[in-house]
């Protein structure tokens, strides 16, 4: 795999990897050894996974090809009619 194809594959893989990491048995590992990792180990683990996901998403969205504006943008339509309602600001 090369270039954009690889990036889109990784973009699809990321949520699956995240799910794997936050579900048992993976998530139970720090819990299973409290004396080894300390009490807050599972919290540190979960927040690390979370940060990893956020960081990966940040990197990936920069590498993924942008959708061209003529497709991506929803051009604002003019209001059909503005009715002065109960709001004093109207």
């Amino acid at each position: 795999m090369k270039g954009q194809k690889k990036i889109t594959f990784l973009a699809r893989l990321l949520p699956a990897a995240g799910l794997l990491l936050i579900l048992p048995p993976m998530v139970s590992i720090p819990n299973a050894n409290p004396e080894q990792y300390g009490f807050a180990a599972v919290i540190i683990y979960l927040f690390s996974v979370w940060l990893f996901l956020i960081f990966s998403a940040y990197i990936l969205q920069r590498k993924l090809d942008a959708t061209p504006p003529e497709i991506s943008k929803q051009y604002p339509l003019q209001p059909i009619k503005t009715i002065s309602g109960s709001s004093k600001h109207d």
């Binding site: 889109t8 973009a11 699809r12 990321l14 949520p15 699956a16 995240g18 799910l19 936050i22 579900l23 048992p24 998530v27 139970s28 819990n31 409290p34 009490f39 807050a40 599972v42 919290i43 979960l46 927040f47 979370w50 940060l51 996901l53 956020i54 960081f55 990966s56 998403a57 940040y58 990936l60 969205q61 920069r62 993924l64 942008a66 959708t67 504006p69 003529e70 497709i71 991506s72 943008k73 929803q74 051009y75 604002p76 339509l77 003019q78 209001p79 059909i80 009619k81 503005t82 009715i83 309602g85 109960s86 709001s87 600001h89 109207d90």
Partner: protein
């Protein structure tokens, strides 16, 4: 000390500030200054409406009670957003293309614009969101009570007065939402002012929560490490194996579904989205926002449990800790943060629900019975829409209040929220099917939603009323009609499993099963199929931009392009040229109604009326479906047509082949039968002389005292019969060799007259014996045929001897004449014998044919003569035919040329006795 009037005043000032933000934003939008409004940052902050007072207050309560469980509420949405490329992008793209206004609109649009589906989703959404709105009311009410309890200038509201307070808050919120959300009706239901206000609120609640968190952790707890060190003392357990059991998984799935299915999330993520690329920012920024909101949750819970007096409501720790520390400004800020998180949810949720109610319930009814709503013809729907939306918002708030009242405000915030989550999660199977399963049908979605929401209502929604209703409490305890097996929270006797897990599992299982089974059994209608393609294949559509598309000139080209794809270039051109003004090209055609109608009929002939109507409807009106999408439809239709034509062609070929095979089979069977017949005929022919020989030989061997002349006679007969047998076998061998294609001779120039003379000479004994006279008629002199002399003699001898042997006429005669025709010498043998019946004209050339068994004619021939003659002549490129049975008048010496066939037949019928026969032998002339 905090002043009660300050609290109320700050809240009102905050609401006014929100209005100002919304007003300025709307103004900027109207002036076209979109830059900040339509920025990815505002978009992301608007999505953060996910974090409501449930997050602000409830998460801490959840952490205090259930440890890490609250994190699952944020991890599910995180997964959905970091996986935006797979799911959300598609959702947003479709939302843009189809101008989707709500989640009900989305699902109904996909399933053939089904009205029933839209109504059902609206109803489920309203019921499902009611607990959620009640949750916000409860949060505001409780927080107000907590903060006012610390204010000496206000009478402390007793807990029993919560109801009145909640009603007042609900009314204020309704008014607030009406003023916010229904000031105008936009074509695509985007509310720029509201979105800006929500984004502003997202910042406020974030800063408020983080500030409180910092104060709690660093001001009281002495840092994260020290704070967590207290956890075990206060009884928060993080290392129990239950932490990540079925409930963890269930809540993760529920929250992932909720981030899409909650009407307000759908509104902010899909409907209010201005640019698909904003999702890029949201994909990491929204999870980051959630992470920021969650960092302090557990520390606040731990400190609250250790710092505050026992029995304090953990849901209010965020507010109670600053109050207990006499940090009044911080407490006020925390209150405003909680207030903003509740109001943002209420505003967006009620707007989203009101759009659904007015678009899918009020408008369809109004269109059917306009008088009921005072609609006059030609009058727009705008006022009706506004009115119905305002009423819907008020009704939604009121329902929220009723739920709050009926459930007596009891219980924690988080479980109430989870009831809502599992309710709206029922949309998830339909949405996934809408996005990825082309064959999912409207009936399937309907069945799934009905089944799932019914199970949800029984196992999750109904039990929430147990605290205030005796009958429901009894039902929960002992099941319906005392059947414990069907207890709502513990269906099928599964008492070991958490009720939430059970409810989610059974409702989603029923939902998915019904969706799949009914979809398989039913079919989409034409619009349903079109929409399915537009949804499932949204990324395969080739958008080249519809914006630069000029309505006045483009349609005729579009129509032509579409027609060409359906009918093919040639037919489309013919069709369009017929309508073009004389001497001008098709670009000058006016797309008049007549022309459109005509075109639709032409198209209907190819793709069926319904599809043609849909196709043309889309091109002519140009909304909902873009030209490119219609093109794709047309292409698909064309492919299907080509494929079916190919199939037809193949079928035809197969049928032809089968026919040929059958024919060949019949021929083979005939040949096989002929072979059998031939064998049995040969055996029969051979047996007769063999029998004679054997019996005479027996007589000779047994009767020793026979007279010598008798003996001589028997020996003579045996000899004669064995000669006949030999002759027969020779003839069979001869015929066999001829039929196998062996050519036993060389052709050379031959004088046919000499061959005839020779044949007559050979036949003299036979003709004498049968008293037949042989005449030679007109003869072609000095001619050569390219043949074999001996073989020609053989044919002639056969014909003459046959004519002699079978002739029973009184004055039997045979006449032979010859002439030239088409470079062939025709030699004709006439006789005045019994003739050959019309039916036998071909069969006489078969093997062993001997005509009608005539007792007078002995079996002197083998029946192979004519067959052999035909074979011989074919080998010489000649032929032999029985021309016609015709009466031959030899006496008058007429030139007995063949007369026409009709004539002959009548003669033949009249005089069957002695019609005579004529064999014509045709031989190729030798050209030097």
């Amino acid at each position: 000390m905090i002043s009660g009037s300050l609290v109320i005043g700050t809240a009102i000032a905050y609401v006014i500030l929100l209005f100002v933000v919304a007003y300025i934003s709307d103004m900027r939008a109207r002036q076209g200054r979109w830059k900040l409004l339509r920025s990815p940052l505002v978009y992301t902050l608007a999505i953060s409406v996910y974090a409501t007072s449930w997050t602000f207050y409830g998460a801490v309560g959840s952490a205090a009670r259930n440890g890490l469980e609250f994190l699952a509420i944020y991890l599910g949405p995180t997964l959905v957003f970091v996986g935006w490329w797979f799911g959300l992008r598609k959702l947003v793209r479709i939302g843009h293309n189809q101008r989707i206004t709500s989640i009900a609109d989305f699902v109904s649009s996909r399933f053939g614009k089904s009205e029933r589906l839209a109504i059902l989703i609206t109803i489920i959404a309203v019921i499902g969101i009611t607990p959620y709105i009640a949750l916000q009311l409860k949060a505001i009410t409780t927080s107000l009570r907590v903060i006012l309890a610390a204010a000496p200038d206000m009478p402390v509201p007793q807990s029993g007065d919560d109801l009145g307070l909640a009603l007042a808050i609900a009314a204020a919120m309704a008014l607030f939402s009406v003023m916010f959300g229904t000031r105008n009706i936009n074509a695509n239901e985007q509310h720029h002012g509201v979105v800006a206000a929500i984004a502003f609120e997202a910042i406020v609640k974030f800063i408020a929560l983080v500030t409180v968190g910092m104060f709690v952790v660093f001001g009281i707890g002495g840092g994260f490490e020290a704070t967590f060190a207290r956890a075990q003392d206060v009884g928060i357990s993080l290392d129990t194996p239950d932490n990540f059991g079925p409930r963890w998984i269930t809540i993760t799935i529920l929250s992932a579904a909720a981030i899409i299915c909650l009407p307000r999330q759908f509104q902010t993520t899909v409907v209010e989205n201005a640019d698909e690329n904003h999702l890029r920012t949201a994909s990491w920024a929204f999870p980051l926002y959630l992470l920021g909101m969650s960092i302090f949750t557990l520390p606040i819970a731990i400190i609250g449990l250790s710092y505050l007096p026992a029995g304090s409501d953990p849901d209010m720790f965020v507010l109670a800790i600053p109050l207990a520390s006499n940090q009044n400004a911080l407490a006020l800020f925390a209150f405003i943060g909680g207030f903003s998180s509740a109001t943002s949810m209420i505003i967006i949720a009620s707007i989203a629900l009101s759009i659904m109610i007015s678009n899918h319930i009020v408008v369809p009814i109004a269109l059917r019975s306009p008088k009921l709503f005072g609609l006059k013809e030609g009058q727009g729907m705008t006022r009706l829409l506004l009115t119905s939306r305002r009423a819907s918002i008020a009704a939604t708030m009121f329902l929220g209040f009723v739920y709050f009242w009926l459930t007596s405000g009891s219980g924690a915030l988080a479980p109430i929220g989870l009831i809502s989550f599992s309710g709206v999660a029922q949309f998830m199977p339909a949405i996934l099917a809408a996005l990825y399963w082309r064959d999912a049908t409207a009936n399937g979605a309907l069945a799934g939603l009905l089944t799932g929401s019914a199970i949800w209502a029984y196992t999750s929604f109904l039990p929430s009323f147990a605290t205030s209703n005796e009958a429901i409490a009894q039902l929960l305890l002992s099941g319906p009609w005392g059947i414990e097996f069907l207890r709502p929270q513990y269906l099928f006797g599964l008492t070991n499993l958490d009720p939430l897990v059970q409810s989610v599992f059974w409702s989603l299982l029923g939902n998915i099963l019904a969706l799949v089974v009914v979809s398989i059994m039913s079919e989409n209608n034409a619009i349903g199929r079109l929409q399915a393609t537009l949804f499932v294949d949204v990324f395969k559509q080739n958008h080249t931009g519809q914006s630069g598309f000029s309505r006045s000139s483009a349609p005729i080209d579009d129509l032509f392009a579409m027609t060409r794809r359906v009918l093919g270039t040639e037919r489309a051109e013919t069709m369009f040229e017929r309508f073009a003004p004389i001497g001008q090209s098709r670009q000058n055609i006016e797309p008049t109604p007549e022309f459109i109608t005509r075109l639709e009929k032409e198209l209907a002939g190819s793709i069926g009326a319904a599809s043609a109507h849909v196709l043309l409807g889309q091109v002519v009106s140009g909304d909902t479906v873009t030209m490119e999408e219609v093109m794709q439809m047309a292409d698909e239709t064309q492919q299907i047509l080509e494929y079916s034509q190919m199939l037809e062609q193949t079928t035809k070929e197969l049928r032809t082949t089968t026919g040929q095979l059958q024919k060949a089979n019949v021929q083979l069977r005939q040949l096989d039968q002929q072979k059998d017949e031939f064998l049995s005929q040969v055996s029969h022919e051979v047996r007769t002389p063999m029998t004679a020989i054997r019996s005479f030989a027996e007589i000779l061997s047994t009767n020793k005292d026979l007279e010598p002349n008798q003996r001589q006679q028997l020996i003579g007969t045996i000899h004669e019969e064995s000669m006949r047998l030999t002759g027969l076998l020779e003839e069979i061998l001869d015929l066999n060799a001829l039929e196998r294609g062996e050519k036993l001779w060389a052709n050379e120039p031959v004088d046919p007259n000499r061959a005839l003379s020779r044949a007559i000479e050979v036949c003299t004994p036979v003709t004498n014996q049968h008293k037949v006279e042989v005449y030679i008629g007109e003869q072609v002199k000095d001619v050569r045929v390219f043949a074999n002399f001996d073989r020609i003699c053989q044919v002639f001898i056969n014909l003459i001897s046959n004519a002699a042997k079978y002739n029973n006429a009184e004055k039997a005669m045979v006449k032979v004449s010859s002439r030239i025709e088409n470079e062939h010498l025709l030699v004709e043998f006439f006789d005045n014998g019994p003739g050959i019946s019309a039916g036998d004209t071909e069969t006489i050339f078969d093997k062993f044919w001997r005509g009608a068994r005539n007792p007078e004619t002995s079996q002197s021939g083998s029946g192979l003569g004519l067959a052999i003659s035909r074979e011989i002549l074919e080998k010489m490129n000649g032929s032999i035919n029985l021309v016609t049975p015709l009466k031959v008048n030899i006496n008058k010496n007429t030139n007995a040329k063949e007369t026409n066939a009709k004539d002959n037949k009548t003669k033949d019928n009249k005089d069957k006795q002695n019609s005579g026969a004529c064999f014509r032998v045709s031989l190729p002339l030798h050209v030097e």
